[in-house]
C-alpha cells in the first residue's frame, strides 16, 4: 500500500506515489514459532513476574503516568527540548507540499540515518527533475527526505541527521548500562 506526497520543484507541484522498500520485500523473512508436545503451533505471550497474568497481543496498553500515577494523555505531553528536536530531526511521515532543494552533495545524505526507503514512479516526475536525477544529482526536501536515482530507479530516502563530535585525546567515555537509546536493538531482528 503506497502513499502520496506533494513536492514543489521549480514552481510546479509534483504528486509522487511512494512504495516502501523493506527487507521483507527484498530478501524475504524468517519467523520462529514454538510448538507444543503435540506439534501444535503456539503463540508468544508475556508472563508477569508474579506469575498471575499471561498477556497476549492486545492485553496491555502503553500509557504515560505522572508522579501520582494518573494517566496523562499524549496531547497533553510536552517535549523538554522541543525546539532542538524540531530543528535536528526530519519527520519520517511525509505530508504536504515541500520545496525540493538541490542538487545537494552525496555527503549530505551520508551524514543522515535512513529511516525508510521508498520507490518513486518515474512517470510522475517532472521531465527536468527526471533528467537531473538521471545525471546523478541528489535533491533534498526538508522534512521528507532525499530524492536520488540509481540503476534500479528513483528512490526517496527518509532520513534524519546524526551529528558526531570530533574526538580529542583526553575525552572520557561514560558507559551507562541503563542508557536508554534505540541502538539497544541493533541487529536483534531474527533473520
Amino acid at each position: 500500500m503506497g502513499r502520496k506526497i506533494e513536492i514543489a520543484f521549480q514552481g510546479s507541484i509534483l504528486r509522487l506515489a511512494l512504495h516502501r522498500v523493506d527487507r521483507r520485500r527484498l530478501y524475504g523473512t524468517a519467523r520462529r514459532i514454538g510448538l507444543d508436545a503435540n506439534g501444535n503451533e503456539c503463540t508468544s505471550a508475556m508472563l508477569t513476574r508474579d506469575g498471575r497474568n499471561v498477556l497476549g497481543p492486545g492485553s496491555t496498553a502503553g500509557m504515560y503516568l505522572d508522579e501520582q500515577g494518573d494517566v496523562i494523555a499524549r496531547e497533553d505531553l510536552a517535549r523538554v527540548d522541543e525546539r532542538e528536536w524540531e530543528t535536528t530531526c526530519d519527520k519520517t511521515e511525509p505530508s504536504g507540499p515541500h520545496e525540493l532543494a538541490g542538487p545537494v552533495p552525496a555527503k549530505a545524505l551520508l551524514e543522515c540515518v535512513a529511516g525508510a526507503v521508498y520507490e518513486v514512479d518515474v512517470a510522475e516526475l517532472d521531465s527536468k527533475l527526471a533528467a537531473s536525477l538521471s545525471r546523478g544529482d541528489i535533491y533534498h526536501a526538508p522534512n521528507i527526505g532525499f530524492l536520488l536515482a540509481n540503476e534500479n530507479g528513483v528512490f526517496l530516502i527518509s532520513a534524519e541527521p546524526a551529528r558526531f563530535d570530533f574526538a580529542r585525546r583526553d575525552r572520557s567515555v561514560v558507559i551507562d548500562d541503563d542508557m536508554d537509546d534505540e541502538y539497544d536493538d541493533l541487529g536483534f531482528e531474527a533473520m
Partner: protein, 234 residues
C-alpha cells in the same frame, strides 16, 4: 549503548575501541504541561484468559457466550485490569492459552513474495564482532556517492579510543581515510569478507568506515546498512 569491539587496521594491527551511537538520536524527554516528570508504563487491559477466544472456548455457542457476558462480565478481570504490567518474561502459550514449560522451536522462511518457502529447525547465527572478534579492514574503498546510491545507511556508530595508544591508532586510521577521500568497507570473519553480525541471530550489516581529522582530533564513523536501494522483484 556504548560497547567495546576489536578493530583491525590496514596492516592487520588491532585495538580495543568503543562503538558509540550518535548523541542526538535518543528520543526527547517528555513532561507534563506544567513540567512534571512522566513515565511510560504498560497497563494491563485484559489477560489472555479473558480474551474472546478464551471465552469462546469456555462457552460453546454464541448464545451462552452472550448470556455470560451480560450476566457476569467475564471479559473483565477486576484484579488485573488497570494494573501496571511491570517486567515480564516471554513465554509460549499453547492453543488452550496455557503457558508451556518447554516448547520446541521451528523456523518458517518466507520469500520476498510472502510465500512460505521452508520450515526448518532454527539455526543460530552467532555474532561475529566483539572484544575477541575483530572488525577487519577489507581494503576495498568506496566514494560516498557510490555508497549512498547502493545502500540505505540505517545505523551509525562513532568509533572512539579507549586509551592513548588507541587514540593514535584511530587518528592514523582517520587520516588515511581522509587522504583517500573514500570510505573503506569493513568486514568480519577470518578473511574479513562477511557482513557484521553484532548479536546472536542479529541482522547482518554491511559496514563502511569514514574518517576525518581536525588537528589533534579525529572523527571515525561506522556506517551500517542492512538494506540495498533497489526495487523488490515483484
Amino acid at each position: 549503548m556504548i560497547r567495546k569491539v576489536r578493530l583491525e587496521d590496514a596492516k592487520r594491527r588491532d585495538g580495543l575501541v568503543y562503538l558509540s551511537p550518535p548523541p542526538r538520536m535518543s528520543k526527547p524527554e517528555l513532561r507534563t504541561a506544567d513540567g512534571g516528570p512522566v513515565r511510560f508504563e504498560k497497563i494491563i487491559k485484559s489477560p489472555m484468559d479473558r480474551s474472546e477466544s478464551a471465552l469462546r472456548r469456555q462457552n460453546h455457542n454464541d448464545d451462552s457466550l452472550a448470556r455470560a457476558l451480560i450476566e457476569g462480565d467475564p471479559e473483565i478481570d477486576m484484579e488485573a485490569a488497570g494494573r501496571i504490567a511491570g517486567a515480564c518474561d516471554r513465554v509460549w502459550v499453547d492453543p488452550e492459552g496455557e503457558p508451556l514449560y518447554a516448547a520446541s522451536l521451528m523456523e518458517i522462511v518466507y520469500g520476498p513474495d510472502g510465500e512460505e518457502k521452508e520450515r526448518r529447525a532454527p539455526v543460530d547465527v552467532e555474532a561475529n564482532i566483539g572484544e575477541e572478534m575483530p572488525m577487519r579492514w577489507t581494503g576495498r574503498f568506496f566514494k560516498p556517492d557510490e555508497i549512498i546510491r547502493r545502500f540505505a545507511i540505517t545505523r551509525k556508530f562513532q568509533i572512539l579510543h579507549t586509551d592513548g595508544l588507541t587514540f593514535d591508532f584511530l587518528h592514523r586510521m582517520a587520516a588515511t581515510l581522509e587522504k583517500k577521500d573514500a570510505l573503506v568497507s569493513m568486514g568480519a570473519g577470518p578473511k574479513g569478507c562477511n557482513p557484521l553480525v553484532f548479536e546472536r541471530n542479529g541482522t547482518p550489516h554491511r559496514a563502511f568506515l569514514e574518517g576525518r581529522t581536525k588537528g589533534d582530533t579525529y572523527l571515525l564513523i561506522l556506517h551500517l546498512s542492512n538494506l540495498e536501494i533497489k526495487r523488490p522483484a515483484s
